[in-house]
């Protein structure tokens, strides 16, 4: 039985992770612990004096939003540096394309691996949230799938973006002017109803906001702004167009 070609590329990614998983696991654990301590408990103690959002303790309300934001950062990161390494720093994309693998196989294997990574990050994150007592385990795990979807909705377009980059400086700009503002203003730390009126529709167009709505709905049963299917659809479309555009741009770049 032939192994699907995309899975062979997935195997390469997994093999590399065997060398780096220790460092990665530590940061996967430490990051949620720090955020939940500082924001959830520290800042939360101030917020809760006036009553938390939706009548919930701030920590409880915040945690699913942080989960979505962490998925965004992981997804965007996986679409940035490993892809730059693939086409420029290490050139393992070119090496793979000299074998029977095609651009399509490489792209699908890449996103397969990103999905696996997002799954790991989200499960660990939920475990930490649960340990903080901010969610019961089953509801928390229900938020893993939406979180993975948020990550993919970023990994797709960011991969396509990186695929066309000449210099890596484009990546730090993306994070500085794209990912960080989204992290701060997409309803993770405060409801977007707190934003000035003219900014609110803008925030509602950011992909992370759709993700935050979904994770809060899945973990806490809070009502969503639109039906959940609409939020899911937005994220799926973002991911799918990212995958398609990644194939187009990588072909244009590597098969010349």
């Amino acid at each position: 039985m032939a192994t699907p070609a995309a899975l062979r590329f997935f195997e390469r990614q997994a093999r590399v992770y065997r060398h780096t998983w220790r460092g990665s696991v530590v940061s996967t654990f430490v990051q949620p612990v720090f955020y939940l301590l500082a924001m959830g408990l520290g800042l939360g103690s101030l917020v809760d004096r006036q009553g938390g959002p939706e009548g919930l303790p701030y920590l409880v309300w915040l945690a699913p939003g942080l989960l979505a934001a962490a998925a965004m950062q992981t997804g965007a990161g996986e679409g940035a540096w490993p892809v730059m390494a693939g086409i420029r720093w290490v050139k393992f994309y070119q090496a793979a394309l000299a074998t029977p693998l095609t651009v399509r196989d490489v792209v699908l294997g890449h996103f397969g691996w990103v999905t696996a990574r997002l799954g790991m990050v989200a499960v660990v994150y939920v475990g930490v949230i649960w340990a903080f007592g901010a969610v019961d385990l089953l509801s928390g795990l229900a938020a893993v799938l939406p979180a993975v979807l948020v990550g993919l909705a970023f990994a797709g377009p960011v991969t396509a973006y990186t695929a066309g980059l000449e210099r890596e400086t484009g990546l730090s700009s993306l994070f500085r002017f794209g990912i960080v503002p989204l992290f701060l203003f997409s309803g993770t730390f405060f409801p977007i109803s707190q934003l000035p009126g003219w900014l609110q529709p803008l925030a509602a167009f950011t992909p992370l906001w759709h993700g935050v709505e979904l994770t809060r709905w899945a973990a806490l049963g809070l009502p969503t702004a639109f039906p959940p299917a609409v939020h899911v659809a937005v994220l799926v479309v973002l991911f799918a167009s990212g995958v398609w555009l990644s194939m187009v741009r990588l072909t244009r770049r590597l098969v010349v």
Partner: protein
């Protein structure tokens, strides 16, 4: 051999066949309508300076660069429609190292074998042989980064052999290596040749091409300017011997007319003068009779370098 055990047309079909092959990048024509055939078991060379179109040709053969115009078949297959099937039987050593620096030496071979969908046991067995062949057995668990340039190139060749290719294409395999590493590498290629692996090699080192290639083409500005075995090319385009003269720096070398009747061809280069003759010793004797006293003289056989100079009016390595 065909199914009946006789040498048949299947065997004599060329592995690579190009007719009027063209590669364009926008307005730039990198490969300008070339014809060639590579047959099973031979070592075929592309010689030429940087920018002659050698790498573009190799990438088209490797089915990673679409053909702009003309006809190209590899193993009788069309790269435009059968790229994965072609690549499955190909070993590729690219000009620029693209070993996986995130993996160890052994893992580089293992993952590459997996790309070809080889069973794990088969890969394990071949890794042992290939590490031996590449003289890297002791570096098995090392990362790629600390390896020397020569080791990296040998690992790249070993990686290209993991699928036991019918044809191996090597683009400038020795460029950038020191003479010792170059020597080791060419020894490895010589072994492959003896094992009957078909090789296509590009190089701008004429001495190497002369020793290794059964047949070669000389490329310049995207075109093939000559084709043949090294010996044929030298016989056809040069004399048997060459007398090389060097004059002291700052001294104007004698003009061509000074050598009237002494040589079949005269080349006055920036750093030396070349007199092409079938008996260079006699030419040398005549030289002092005419009162020409260079600082240094050298009698040598004609090489492909001389063929290149004749055909293009330029030296190859500048």
């Amino acid at each position: 051999m065909n199914a009946y055990g006789y040498p048949g047309s299947v065997m004599s079909d060329p592995l690579v066949e190009a007719r009027g092959l063209v590669k364009r990048f926008g307005d730039i024509v990198a490969v300008d309508g070339i014809d060639f055939e590579v047959r099973a078991g031979e070592v075929f060379g592309f010689l030429g300076p940087n920018g002659a179109g050698k790498s573009s040709t190799m990438r088209m053969i490797g089915a990673v660069s679409p053909v702009s115009a003309g006809h190209l078949r590899v193993f009788g297959l069309d790269p435009a429609t059968d790229a994965p099937r072609i690549k499955a039987q190909l070993g590729v050593v690219p000009q620029e190292d693209n070993l996986d620096t995130e993996l160890t030496v052994e893992e580089n071979l293992y993952i590459y074998g997996r790309y070809f969908d080889l069973p794990r046991e088969v890969i394990r067995r071949r890794i042992d042989e290939l590490l031996e062949f590449a003289q890297l057995t002791e570096r098995r668990d090392s990362r790629v980064e600390p390896l020397s340039g020569g080791m990296k190139r040998r690992l790249t060749i070993a990686r290209g052999l993991i699928n036991q290719p019918r044809l191996m294409i090597l683009d400038e395999p020795t460029t950038g290596l020191d003479p010792q590493a170059r020597h080791v590498l060419w020894d490895r290629l010589w072994r492959l040749k003896q094992q009957g692996v078909t090789l296509i090699v590009t190089t701008h080192y004429m001495d190497e091409a002369e020793q290794l290639c059964d047949r070669l083409v000389i490329m310049d500005h995207g075109k093939i300017v000559a084709e043949g075995s090294p010996r044929e090319l030298i016989e056809r385009h040069s004399t048997r011997e060459v007398l090389e003269l060097r004059f002291p720096v700052g001294v104007e070398p004698p003009p061509e007319s000074a050598y009237n009747g002494m040589a079949k061809r005269i080349e006055i280069l920036a750093d030396r003068t070349l007199l092409y003759s079938d008996d260079a010793e006699r030419t040398l004797a005549e030289l002092s009779e005419r009162g020409i006293h260079p600082e240094q003289t050298l009698v040598r056989r004609s090489t492909l370098e001389d063929v290149f100079l004749k055909l293009t009016g330029r030296t190859l390595v500048d």
